[in-house]
């Protein structure tokens, strides 16, 4: 499932993500804008790597190539945030953050929000699928990757 949500999980005003000035993560962020999830996959030794680095941490080959992977995984850990640490979140209420591991990409992990009821019971190990959240009007425009519990796993 590579669909897109028309809504934002969190209110506008949070910091906008951008690649570093050296461009290291640019393929990741441009991929999200296109509705593609990209992870570094070393051509020399097959190691998956995320976040990106200029070198493969296993075999030291430079510039590990980016590969499209399916945006699905399982919940490795989670938190329900209550205290607003940014003005944009004041009055918003609780929200869920999940750490998702990708079994088909070397168990690399990604942080995102878990869509749906913020008070839902969250189960470590639950299967989740990615949902692209596009912020086309932001300066600069960007996209996020959110997660929702896989339907067959939903309660």
């Amino acid at each position: 499932m590579n669909d897109t949500t028309p809504t934002r999980y969190l209110p506008p005003g949070l910091p906008v993500p951008a690649p570093e000035s050296d461009g290291l993560s640019a393929p990741y962020w441009s991929g999200l804008r296109e509705g593609r999830l990209r992870v570094q996959h070393c051509a020399a030794c097959g190691t998956w790597q995320f976040g990106p680095e200029w070198i493969c941490h296993h075999c030291h080959a430079f510039d590990p190539p980016w590969e499209d992977v399916a945006p699905r995984g399982r919940i490795y850990s989670w938190e329900r945030v209550w205290h607003p640490a940014h003005a944009a979140l004041k009055g918003h209420g609780a929200y869920l953050v999940v750490l998702v591991e990708l079994p088909h990409a070397g168990l690399v992990r990604m942080v995102g929000n878990l869509l749906g009821d913020p008070m839902q019971e969250v189960r470590i190990g639950a299967e989740v699928e990615g949902v692209y959240e596009h912020h086309a009007g932001a300066q600069p425009p960007f996209s996020l990757l959110q997660w929702r519990v896989h339907t067959e796993d939903a309660r």
């Binding site: 993500p17 570093e20 205290h83 640490a85 690399v108 992990r109 942080v111 470590i124």
Partner: protein
Amino acid sequence: MSVRSLRGRVAVVGIGETRYYKHSQSPDAEFKLALKAILAACEDAGLDPREIDGFASYSDDRSEASRLAAALGIRRLRSATMQWGGGGGGCCAAVANGAAAIAAGLADCVVVFRALAQGQHGRFGQVAGIDSVAGEKAYLMPYGVLSPPQRFAMRVRRFMHEHGVRQEAMRAIALASYHHAQANPRAVMHGKPLSAETYDASRWIAEPFHLYDCCMENDGAAAIVLVAAERARDFARKPAYVLGAATGSGHRAGAAPHNAPRYGSAGFDTVAPDLYAMAGIAPADVGVVQSYENFTGGVAMALAEHGFFAPEEANEFLTLDNLVAPSGRLPLNTSGGNLAECYMHGFELVLEAVRQVRGTSTSQAARSDVALVIGGPMVTPVSDLLLASENVL
């Protein structure tokens, strides 16, 4: 060639701190706080501050060594070291770096310190004035993972999940800090006891962290004076000798965002064994522990990684009775620490370990000739320090 070790070669001969304030309430500039703590440490030692020839700090302390040297009119500056990394991960490493400079003959009298005025320079617990983010923050902040509790809660959740650790274990750590703070007039939370009921009823900051699982934010400064062991007995106070120190982190601990292989961990898997090896002691020899509490869950993981209990035993070990001075199994954070004395970025813990070795704590442990300080769970690098009285050497 002798064994490469700090064991018994350097001692703490002076400690000093400013008054500890709630964040934004210091009437003094941050640099002035640093100066006051340093002078207090020199006075405690009976040392002319002009004898200082080195400074060491951590976490990008803004009170820079050369400015301190000029302000204090010291005769010459020989060592100026800054430990990389944020949070309290460097609170013991800065002591190790200062001690290493002395042991290697690069300096004779090093002051190690930390000064913080969050009101003047921005709070750790709030994010403001950032429009765009790159690097690790870009993977976190747009998802509302902005402040330290939000960055660390998922590590603790994973640890609790893997080992069946209950909220009551975290609560015991918070209760121990508040219990000890009631005896400590320096403590910001002196006169403000915490009950289990109040903890349970307190609001969530980020589950599994209640309000009382989270450190305070404070203004103040704290400092110690280090000299070579041969000179230690020339000073006014009972010396606290460096028995061991270790810093660093394990395999790919810094893999961002949240990709460290050992995730439900405080990060001492390689550091704690180094510490015990240098000191030549075992966990059972430690009489009292000061363990950096950014969040209680980090303390639980750190104590397990230092061999005081297996993670599966956390619920049995982490009870209030076991953690209080004088005669708990392992008196913990006997000044109140970051939760209830002062969030001096963990440096107040180093001073408290010195007091334990001297026998001058307001919550003295029954066994205090070997005092452990654990710096900065869940960050990288982390660091450890063991202090001991002369009879242990």
